[in-house]
């Protein structure tokens, strides 16, 4: 893990058509921060997230991820992503363990054969059979015993070990989101991006979910949360970015509560229920 600025947007502008969806956005997220991005529907939150992760390229301005141009960043193992719900068919037969296993995919394959300074040729000389086996495993994308250990540890961490062999479609909303967090942990991600992760999740599970995020943040994982539930943001995030095409507020959560940014960004129709603790 390096101390590079995690996300660095400078004067970013982007539109799917001629009309910009986000404009003049400048934003830096440093390692270990817990940042919430809030804004009304259609305010460009999800687009901003895609720009940060390099899934979209800005029309103007620059977007960097861990110090590299975001769209060229290729170490997917450092990124964990949790959506409202997986885009796949709801009826897809897949177990929790199989979902969490996906977090190890960026680590398997031929990249594993390149050590920091060693070469495959030298390994082949020292241990021919082992190296051939490693190459075969890399070609077939097979997970090693240590990969499976990571998977099991991630399941332990989110309290889902007992559900490892359950079909994902049999889980409640809260359990499902924990499984997706576990996938990010198995990946050993140091940036966790969550796009409205608690939509459709019951209140009790939402609290447990945010407790989990807080614990992970205490460990040093940077959290970037796109959230519609303002009270959850007030209670958990340490920094709020309020967006409605452009940034209306960027600062500590308690200052956001006292500012008029919310009213300006949401057009005066929003209020926070619960408030900061």
């Amino acid at each position: 893990m390096t101390a590079d600025t995690v996300v660095d947007l400078a004067d970013v502008e982007f539109g799917y058509t001629a009309t910009p969806v986000v404009r003049e956005v400048s934003l830096r997220v440093e390692p270990g921060e817990y940042v919430a991005i809030v804004g009304p529907n259609g305010s460009g939150k999800s687009t901003l997230m895609k720009l940060m992760l390099g899934l979209l390229q800005p029309d103007s301005g620059t977007a960097s991820l861990f110090g590299e141009p975001a769209h060229e960043f290729d170490d997917g193992s450092r990124l964990g992503y949790v959506a409202q719900h997986a885009s796949a068919s709801k009826e897809m037969p897949i177990t929790v363990r199989e979902v969490v296993k996906m977090g190890r995919f960026p680590h398997v394959g031929f990249g594993r054969l390149r050590d920091d300074d060693g070469s495959v040729v030298e390994d082949l000389r020292d241990d021919p059979l082992g190296t051939v086996r490693d190459i075969a495993n890399a070609a077939s994308g097979r997970l090693s015993a240590s990969d499976w250990e990571r998977v099991d540890e991630a399941l332990d961490t989110v309290g889902m070990s007992a559900f490892a062999n359950r079909r994902v479609t049999q889980l409640s909303g809260g359990q499902r989101q924990r499984a997706f967090i576990a996938r990010a942990l198995a990946s050993e991600a140091d940036l966790l991006v969550l796009d409205e992760p608690t939509v459709g999740v019951d209140a009790e599970s939402v609290e447990a979910f945010y407790d989990l995020l807080a614990s992970l943040n205490e460990q040093g994982i940077t959290i970037l949360l796109i959230e519609h539930d303002l009270s959850a943001v007030m209670n958990h995030a340490e920094r709020v970015v309020c967006l409605n095409k452009e940034i209306y507020f960027d600062g500590p959560t308690d200052e956001f509560v006292e500012s008029d940014a919310l009213a300006r960004a949401f057009g005066g129709a929003a209020s926070i229920v619960g408030g900061a603790e």
Binding site: Y81, S205, L216
Partner: protein, 344 residues
């Protein structure tokens, strides 16, 4: 690929090692026929048809599992109809300039080009949609029927075998081509299965993890094109998509995991193929139709079995473990349990 390679002699030379495999297979089934007394195992064309059926029973659900769970079941149908255009191109070239090319080979080329076209349309419009697939499907079929009608006077081969499939027209050459398609499909899936699974399950997360979603989508549609052409020989253009979809839909009813669903769908497809070929032989019916009817029957049984499985109920809902982020990544959960978060 140059014309001499496409022509019968050059292609046969390339496929000659596979003809040896076909001979061994045929000898094995002849021996089995003598031992069991099964009449359908007496004929060389049935040996080839069974081999093609067994291969299709593996590769169709293998690819179909990824397609169905991405809700792309119709793509097989669209590509089958463009493969028909490829067959027509082959027949047309043979009749007009005496190229001597196997229509299945031209079908492979045209179907793969169509697969790329569908993928490009979806990338441009940012979604797979019914309209683009319907356009490609209709264009393929229209091109096929037009070429065949232009050339009607010169054609001596009926197109029925391509539309409906025919066990007795599986030649050694087309069976050998199928073996090549089988090896390519199984090999590519073996190497890319992790990526295909990730893209199928959660496209955005796959992209965030660094996978090139568009490349894996292209691989998937091109493999679909290969499967469709392979299966067309016995299933026919019109019914080929069923092999991609029906066994997979049946397996999804009774499987818990993705790996299990892959295996179960292959088993269901093989049962459908073998039963279907046997019934069609003894009943004198079209193999493609009977195989699909058997597959649908098996699907109905799987739905029934799935309902029973649900009614009996799984083991009791386990309790959630406590969140234990503090000790990660090497920690283990504390013994305490949080209140159960009940599943549905």
């Amino acid at each position: 690929m140059s014309a001499p390679v496409l022509q019968g002699g050059g292609l046969d030379a390339l496929l000659s090692p596979l003809y040896w495999i076909l001979d061994v297979w045929s000898g094995l089934l002849s021996w089995l026929g003598e031992v069991t007394g099964l009449g359908l195992l007496q004929y060389g064309f049935m040996h080839r048809a069974i081999l093609v059926g067994l291969c299709v029973g593996i590769i169709a659900p293998l690819i179909g599992t990824f397609l169905v769970h991405r809700q792309l079941a119709l793509i097989g149908d669209a590509l089958a109809h463009t493969a028909f255009a490829g067959v027509a191109v082959g027949l047309f070239l043979n009749a007009v300039i005496d190229l001597g090319v196997s229509p299945y080979l031209t079908a492979v080329i045209v179907a793969m080009l169509a697969a790329l076209l569908i993928e490009l349309i979806s990338e441009t419009t940012d979604a797979y949609n019914d309209v683009s697939m319907a356009i490609v499907l209709s264009t393929g079929f229209a091109l096929g029927t037009t070429l065949i009608s232009i050339n009607a006077g010169g054609l001596t081969v009926s197109v029925d075998q391509y539309l409906f499939g025919n066990l007795s027209t599986v030649t050694s050459q087309s069976a050998a081509i199928l073996l090549v398609l089988f090896a390519v499909v199984v090999g590519v899936v073996a190497v890319t299965r992790n990526q295909l699974l990730y893209v199928t399950f959660d496209e955005t997360a796959a992209a965030v993890s660094g996978l090139s979603v568009s490349w894996y989508n292209r691989i998937m549609v091109m493999l679909t094109a290969l499967v469709v052409v392979g299966a067309m020989q016995i299933m026919g253009v019109i019914l080929v998509a069923a092999m991609l979809v029906v066994p997979v839909a049946g397996a999804a009813q009774v499987s818990r995991s993705f790996t299990e669903s892959l295996l179960v769908s292959v088993v269901l497809a093989e049962i459908a193929v073998l039963l279907g070929i046997a019934i069609s032989y003894y009943a004198g019916a079209t193999a493609g139709g009977v195989v699909v009817l058997v597959a649908v029957g098996i699907y109905a049984l799987a739905v029934f079995a799935g309902k029973i499985q649900t009614a009996i109920g799984e083991d009791a809902t386990p309790q959630m473990g406590s969140i234990d982020a503090g000790d990660a990544p090497d920690g283990h959960p504390a013994g305490s349990q949080t209140p159960s978060e009940d599943a549905e």
